[in-house]
Symmetry: C2
């Protein structure tokens, strides 16, 4: 199929949709034509939801998770155990650990993993804020719940080194999770067992 | 993964994205988090492209194809052969036929196919306008380029009956084996019709 669309508006929509990961021009065209067949209200709701998300969402000042407020619901919840901090790569990590139903502590969202290949260094992540948070006291255990990949291991090792002097207990997920897998796609049962069998690192 | 998102904005975006065909909640979440990681400008461009498409795009008053103007570029092009009208189901049909590079006539976009199962009758499609267009004169041939399915055949048959009295030449796409197909895997119906419609080679 060539790329001469009958409408510039359609062409622009297809171009923008196909910038999303995993969506090619053919799928983008299918989605655009689908929206044209539906009520205009659906497109308005979709576009407004995207704009609100991008412009209004903020990050929790404590754990840096995506949040609607300055302090996220988990950090603001007095029934959560503030002495335990689970370090995750991103929002998906929080959702994955929450889905196990086994964790009652707080989180710390790094915003990525150390990856020299992609030009991501420790300074690009929320590691300094983690050290500050732990250094301020009140935290007994830091659980590293990072993907069991080269980047995850590197990041975990770096963090454990940085936190060594604080004397805090540092644990990491048990290697029940298969090496090379993405945490986002690990099933709850596996992740739950890995969380329960976490191993002391220092 | 359960459905307790850390942000209502994120939850709403995921809900709206996952209304698109073929996109589940997990993919929707991945897309939403992707947009959050990108520059805000990308989300703005995407949302605005969708809003412009839905609110500003119109349909050509002659062929009913999606268009930015009252008359689409194909209908407005004086070098196209106005005596030939190719009837297609939707915009994708126009794009597919255009992609062959072999067609210089005009189009007529039905906006669907007759499908009693889905409650789509002839009155829901641009069939009356096709009859009017052909009845007004100047059209020598109507090519039915509809999907070779039950709905496509039904719609084509209905149109050919409606146009019978105008005396216009009505043709339909040749049925036969697909180029590049293995004969071993061609279904009986297709092979049967290809055999019946065999073409003299010398």
């Amino acid at each position: 199929m060539n790329d001469t669309y009958p409408s510039r508006l359609l062409e622009r929509a297809v171009a923008e949709i196909s910038k999303l990961p995993g969506i090619g021009r053919k799928t983008a065209l299918r989605l655009a034509l689908y929206l044209l067949r539906q009520e205009a209200a659906q497109t308005h709701a979709l576009a407004n939801a995207l704009l609100s998300l991008r412009d209004e969402v903020c990050h929790c000042r404590v754990c840096h998770n995506v949040s609607d407020n300055d302090l996220c619901e988990i950090c603001a919840n007095p029934r959560r155990d503030a002495a335990t901090v689970c370090v995750v790569e991103n929002v998906s990590g929080v959702l994955s650990v929450e889905a196990t139903g086994q964790y009652r502590g707080l989180y710390h969202v790094l915003g990525g993993l150390i990856s020299p290949m992609d030009g991501v260094g420790p300074g690009d992540l929320e590691i300094a804020s983690l050290c500050e948070r732990v250094g301020a006291g009140g935290v007994n255990e830091v659980i590293l719940a990072l993907s069991p990949t080269m980047e995850g291991d590197t990041t975990g090792f770096y963090i454990s080194r940085r936190l060594a002097e604080t004397g805090v207990l540092i644990t990491t997920l048990a290697r029940g999770v298969s090496v090379g897998d993405d945490l986002e796609y690990t099933d709850e049962a596996t992740l739950g067992r890995a969380l329960a069998a976490r191993v002391k690192m220092n």
